[in-house]
Amino acid sequence: MQIEIDPLSDVPLYQQLRDRIVEGIAAGELVPGDPLSSVRQLAMEFGINIATVSKGYDLLRAEGLVRTHRASGSVVARGPLSGRHDVQPWTPSARAGWIARLHTMLAEAVAQGETDDDVLEAARGILTDLAAQRRTNDAKNDRTNTKNDRTKGNS
């Protein structure tokens, strides 16, 4: 899966890396079991510091989205439920962190004068979009059953 990160953005590169991978999982471009590049490979791919990539992977591991084995490297560990196998419940601390960020995000919209309905509609639009992308990606994976035809899908 190809991702884009903005070297001039105020958002740190490791955060962008983590965000793009989370979005890839939500869109079904990455499914549980998919191998991710090693920290070193990924840093070489983008020409950025190894420590930056390592920090992004640390975030993903702390959230349980990625698991790293010494032998087999990093793999995607979680994914959307969508009728698939036994996805464990979210760790309470990760969920609490998300609620805190969501609180800020929703407060931004309310502070700007958005109505509750508009906020909910925007959220539903994004969720519908992700579900649609997931369906496309699932169909593609079923058809080819390979992992090398992923196309650019985010940012």
Partner: protein, 370 residues
């Protein structure tokens, strides 16, 4: 002296042709190794700079040829080295002058202002598609092995004195007592060259090829794969041609020591084959580099790769401390270059300079003795 009159101008023609062809082998967003946004790739200053570059290289070539002819009357060795050296320096100056025109305009007109830039790459492990040129490698070793077998067979019948040094005209001018080293020396060099080129083809498999932000993911993958395949083919063919020439010249010198034609055919054949391999490669490369890069005004994602000129000193030397890659794709030219911001890259650079200095010193010293 007549040999100098042929070899030096033809060497100058080959170097000049390569220097003049190089700009055409760059992606349109890297004219003369300067990174420019997609929307700026047709700016008039770029065309002017390329014209200036070609003009200066052409003039430098003419001066070098005249110098070579003039010097040939005085000293063949000076005539063979000085003009080529001066031409390479002059062509480098032409390159610097021309690219500075683009750099200055880009800076003054702020080409990257308000242009969104992205680094793009894959986060998943993509399967390695590139194969190493194992067939060419096996064929090269087979040729060298056959030549060695012939050498072993005729070793006892070879004269006690064998030539170990040839003058510029291709005539042996120094002899030594026969031993395994000077009989099989060229073949050993051939094996080393073959091994080095084969080792490079493994670098070609793993060294990163960075994606263009303006191109689609599919195009980036296709381009990277085509580049690796093209370089693998080039390395394979090169090792075979070199092994063929060395085997031929060795066998000819044993079986037909007095005939001049095998040497002539071997040398000309080597040059022609190398030229053919290079031309085939360059035509292929030219198609590959521009693949998927949108034209100005064309519909694309609206993002560019970042301006990374600050990591490319003179567009040639890559210095990036953050980049963990030791070898990266060249900016101006074809192939790989080391990252001088990485300790291992510096080590490779020092080793290369040591080898080049060693070869030059050895050549001068051995010529001096003769």
């Amino acid at each position: 002296m007549t040999a100098v009159l042929i070899i030096v101008p033809s060497a100058l023609v080959v170097i000049a042709a390569v220097m003049l062809l190089l700009p055409a082998l760059m992606p349109p967003t890297l004219p003369l190794g300067v990174s420019v946004p997609v929307e700026r790739q047709a700016e008039p200053v770029i065309r002017t700079a390329l014209r200036r570059y070609r003009l200066l290289v052409g003039v430098a070539w003419l001066v070098a040829v005249i110098l070579a002819v003039a010097l040939a009357a005085v000293s063949p060795l000076t005539a063979s080295l000085v003009p080529i050296l001066l031409f390479v320096i002059a062509a480098s100056v032409a390159y610097i002058i021309a690219r500075q025109m683009i750099v200055r305009t880009k800076h003054d007109e702020q080409w990257y202002k308000d242009v969104p830039v992205r680094l793009v790459g894959s986060v998943t492990v993509d399967p390695v598609h590139t194969s190493v040129p194992a067939g060419w490698f096996a064929a090269s070793l087979l040729l060298l092995a056959i030549a060695t077998a012939i050498g072993v067979g005729v070793y006892d019948n070879l004269p006690q004195q064998v030539p170990v040094h040839w003058g510029l005209a291709g005539v042996a001018d120094r002899f030594d007592v026969k031993n395994v080293g000077n009989v099989f020396g060229p073949l050993i060099v051939g094996v080393i060259v073959t091994l080095v080129l084969f080792a490079l083809s493994f670098v070609n498999r793993v060294a990163p090829i960075r994606a263009a932000a303006s191109a689609s993911a599919a195009d980036n993958e296709l381009r990277a794969r085509a580049k690796r395949a093209g370089l693998a083919t080039l390395l394979g063919r090169m090792m075979f041609v070199i092994a063929l020439a060395i085997s031929w010249l060795s066998v000819a010198s044993w079986l037909l020591p007095d005939a001049r034609w095998p040497v002539t055919i071997g040398t000309i054949g080597l040059l022609v084959l190398i030229l053919l391999v290079l031309v085939a490669f360059l035509m292929r490369w030219r198609r590959i580099v521009a693949q998927g890069i949108p034209k100005p005004g064309a519909e694309h994602g609206g993002v560019d790769s970042p301006d990374d000129d600050r990591f490319w000193k003179a567009g040639i030397f890559y210095v990036n401390r953050d980049d963990p890659a030791i070898m990266v794709q060249r900016r101006f030219g074809v192939g790989w270059t080391m990252n001088l911001g990485h300790p291992a890259g510096v080590a490779i650079g020092v080793a290369l300079i040591a080898v080049i200095v060693g070869v030059v010193v050895f050549t001068i010293v051995s010529n001096g003795k003769a």
